[in-house]
Symmetry: C2
Subunit: 174 residues, 2 copies
């Protein structure tokens, strides 16, 4: 096991700025490209991360820390951003993600969690019992997964354009 | 086909700052993690991108544009950074990548390439004839591939730590 709270926070607090530097000011074609039906464009990735800040990570951590009778999480809507991001600009979404993430990381830091608290459990509606440590590790891995997905969906725009180099670029064939 | 020179440059000029925001100041454990023998850590990804700036993209573009008798590229050493990055700090590598990329993008812009030039061919030592357009599209996709790889190798540190969430995180199983 590798999870360490300070190391995890170091990643969480970098994600909004990383996405801002990568995406803001790019031509629209890069922002709206996707991998087909029910896949996320870079724009949708940012909206999805915002939805997580509002409804997933910190709200679920609060349920675990409260240790009341009902520790079952609300199911997570992977496509909520289709409603919530409608008509908004990318810069607006990047600003909101930055703002929410800063607040949530400040909340996480303020809890000053000890090992005993990280071992407390909640109930995932599909996966069953999960610990706070697993939830926080998932928050970090989920960020990195959506950063990788954003880069991959962009790369795939050039799947044909690279010609024979496609054989050397595994990202285009995933 | 989607390749457009201006759109491609928009990505190329963002990569150094994206990697800097993602990686600089992170604990060493995030920088040196890899996926096993002959795989790249985040540190090695930056070294590999530097080697490309020095020996691959612009040097190969020059060979194509010169259209002399021998248009065959030098083979590319995917592991050159193991020698070249030895003993250096991540910040030092990020600075060098930023500097080289700025110069190379300035060179590319200065050529003001027209469609006829983008269609010119060189000879890849293994792939055979390739066009300048394919080379430039590959440069962009290669950047995005290494950004995705960097995020993936970091995420995999938490492969076990996420517990049952692993089933929902395809990045951990790739």
């Amino acid at each position: 096991m590798s999870f360490d709270l300070g190391e995890g926070i170091a990643v969480l607090e970098r994600t909004p700025a990383t996405l801002r530097v990568l995406l803001s000011g790019l031509p629209e074609s890069w922002i709206t490209t996707d991998e087909g039906p029910d896949t996320f464009s870079p724009f949708e990735n940012v909206g999805h991360l915002i939805h997580g800040e509002r409804t997933d990570w910190i709200p679920r951590a609060r349920i675990i820390l409260a240790q009341k009778g009902d520790r079952r999480f609300q199911p997570y809507d992977r496509f909520a951003q289709r409603r919530e991001s409608q008509g908004r600009s990318l810069v607006d979404l990047l600003d909101e993600f930055d703002h929410l993430r800063s607040e949530n990381v400040a909340t996480l830091r303020s809890w000053d969690l000890a090992d005993g608290e990280l071992a407390l459990e909640g109930e995932h509606p599909e996966l069953g019992p999960v610990t706070l440590r697993q939830l926080l590790a998932t928050w970090v891995a989920h960020d990195l997964g959506h950063l990788a997905q954003t880069a991959r969906v962009m790369a795939k725009r050039y799947r044909e354009d690279v010609g024979p180099w496609r054989a050397y670029l595994p990202i285009l064939n995933g």
